[in-house]
């Protein structure tokens, strides 16, 4: 059993954040694209009215948040692959720090970065573009934020899986994009897609929970999933309760982190 030693984990997290914040690619992928999507969604959907005084942009904004959180995959994949590629992981392996603390430090920095990233997009949407939600209840928004963050953690696990196989940071980015984009499109959150395939895509669950909780004020335990990729107000309830979706996200987070770390260890320890 290892001792936690928070100062070591914090030092690794701070180092990772410094490296991330000093690299232009970070701004391009983690903020540039989500901001661009927000602008595009705003100008395309703001004028299309739906029910109860909402417009399509109000409903589609959760997709931008999910899209933003998905970039955790690239972020984690590039971070760990770079450590491998540069040889710094090998050098750290000769110090008493240990792999467990390296992973904890990486997860901490990625989580902090994810929060900053989501917070900026939330400010942009709810602050600048006046996205509406139920009763302007900040508590609902906070709960929604937690769900998206939780989904973001699951994307980190996928990133770690990718870093186990990627040889260079560039290939890690390529492999991550090859995962993120198809899954986002198949989940039906960026473009309408009516198919059972959506149920196997984690972004679908994150988007449903966010919309039902933040826009409809649904209770996780009482209501079922209301799936209709075009208009949530006109959708009927399915028999699947919302908490199952949450459980799926938590499950994917735990499984992907476990598999990712195991694979990374197997591929990099001799």
């Amino acid at each position: 059993m290892i001792t936690i030693k928070p100062q070591l984990i914090t030092a690794i997290a701070i180092k990772n954040l410094k490296i991330k914040l000093r690299s232009y690619q970070t701004y391009l992928y983690a903020l540039g694209f989500p901001v661009l999507f927000t602008f595009i969604f705003y100008f395309v959907f703001k004028t299309i009215e739906v029910d109860f005084g909402y417009n399509v942009f109000d409903l589609a904004f959760s997709s931008v948040l999910i899209y933003t959180a998905s970039f955790g995959t690239i972020s984690a994949a590039v971070s760990l692959t770079s450590e491998k590629q540069l040889g710094t992981l090998m050098r750290l392996d000769t110090t008493p720090v240990g792999r467990a603390r390296i992973f904890l430090g990486t997860l901490l920095s990625e989580s902090i970065f994810l929060i900053i990233q989501l917070f900026i997009i939330v400010l942009l949407g709810y602050g600048l573009f006046q996205v509406q939600w139920l009763d302007n209840d900040l508590f609902l928004l906070f709960i929604g934020f937690i769900f998206v963050f939780l989904f973001g953690l699951s994307t980190l696990g996928i990133g770690i899986v990718i870093s186990a196989y990627a040889k260079t940071a560039d290939s890690a980015t390529g492999l991550s994009m090859s995962y993120i984009m198809p899954v986002l499109f198949l989940s039906g959150i960026l473009i309408p897609f009516e198919s059972p395939i959506v149920y196997i895509c984690p972004p679908f669950w994150a988007n449903q929970i966010y919309q039902q909780v933040v826009i409809l004020g649904d209770n996780l335990f009482l209501d079922g999933i209301r799936y209709n990729s075009i208009n949530i107000f006109t959708a009927g309830y399915s028999i699947i309760p919302l908490w199952v979706g949450l459980l799926i996200i938590i499950g994917i987070t735990c499984i992907s982190l476990y598999i990712g770390i195991r694979l990374f260890q197997r591929k990099t320890l001799t």
Partner: protein, 317 residues
């Protein structure tokens, strides 16, 4: 735990990759406060030995102890007392020199306050004190010095350096040598691999020459040279290249000639035993009759490089 004043003890270490033996029952003992050079041609097993000592690779058989700790069973303890400077430049390029040093120092549980002062001192020592920009803007030599500085700031007992001065200019190389000598006076044990024989001679208390995964010679640089002290070397550069094979055969037939090595198309290195009489016998050969056919001739004593080449051969590995 060993009670001997040994820093490193390697017992019958063996490692194979793809059924090829890379380290073959290696035995080695290094005393505390000793600087030891590990020499050998490419593929001799130096880097693999270093990786095993640094707990990065597991051996197939045999074991090693660092300051009495078994490198496999007590690897966590071993990691507290070793520091490795890899051949590659292993640095965070987006961080500054000082940030790199403080980060790696923290991984060895030193306090940030102590590390800040120590980083200043070491960067000053290595001529990097005035660089506050990212490491990616540094020259190759500066990065190499920083690569070494990381091991120094860790303030550990055993330093493992894989070609620490490769690619450095002579000034920087001297500076690094002074730092390593200073570390020895502070009680550190240093094991280094190098292809620079002069470096091995200047720095090392003892030299180990490896070939095919085994130690084939060991001793102080002086002891190794004395193995061939009775030999002299005559280097000859001929104007023409067409007769070189005949020349070699002629010299090889002389009983006092130990070896004739073809250095290049027109250059021979003749190792011969003994004295001026034997030299005269060589110079009396027909090939030296017309001195206008000789571009250059140089008589010298054995160096560590000659010992190395004699033991490991000239062919590329």
């Amino acid at each position: 735990m060993y009670e001997l004043p040994l820093a490193i003890k390697i017992d019958n270490l063996t490692k194979t990759f793809n059924n090829q033996i890379v380290i073959d029952h290696l035995n080695l003992q290094i005393a505390k406060k000793e600087i030891v050079s590990l020499l050998g041609p490419n593929g001799a097993g130096k880097s693999t030995t270093i990786k095993i000592l640094a707990t990065l690779l597991k051996s197939d058989d045999g074991t090693a102890f660092i300051n009495g700790y078994n490198i496999e069973k007590d690897y966590l303890e071993v990691r507290k007392i070793i520091g490795i400077t890899p051949q590659e430049l292993v640095l965070y390029e987006e961080l500054t020199a000082s940030e790199n040093l403080i980060f790696f120092g923290m991984m060895h549980n030193h306090s940030r306050k102590w590390l800040k002062n120590e980083a200043k001192r070491i960067l000053n020592l290595l001529g990097l004190a005035n660089r506050n920009d990212k490491v990616k803007n540094f020259s190759g030599g500066m990065k190499r010095r920083l690569n070494l500085a990381i091991s120094i700031i860790m303030d550990i007992e055993v330093l493992i350096l894989d070609e620490p001065t490769a690619g450095l200019d002579p000034q920087s190389q001297n500076q690094v040598w002074d730092i390593l000598k200073d570390l020895k006076t502070k009680g550190k044990t240093i094991i280094l691999t190098t292809h620079d024989m002069h470096e091995a001679e200047v720095l090392s208390d003892r030299v180990f020459i490896m070939n095919n995964g085994k130690i084939i010679a060991k001793g102080t640089p002086r002891q190794l040279k004395e193995m061939y002290s009775n030999e002299n070397i005559l280097e000859v550069i001929f104007k023409k290249t067409n007769q070189l094979e005949d020349v070699m055969k002629t010299f090889q037939s002389l009983t006092f000639v130990k070896n004739v090595i073809k250095e290049s198309n027109n250059k021979l290195r003749i190792l011969f035993e003994g004295n001026m009489i034997n030299l005269t016998k060589i110079l009396n050969q027909q090939y030296f009759a017309d001195l206008t056919e000789i571009l250059e001739m140089n008589l010298r004593q054995t160096t560590l490089e000659d010992v190395f080449i004699n033991l490991t051969g000239r062919e590329l590995k």
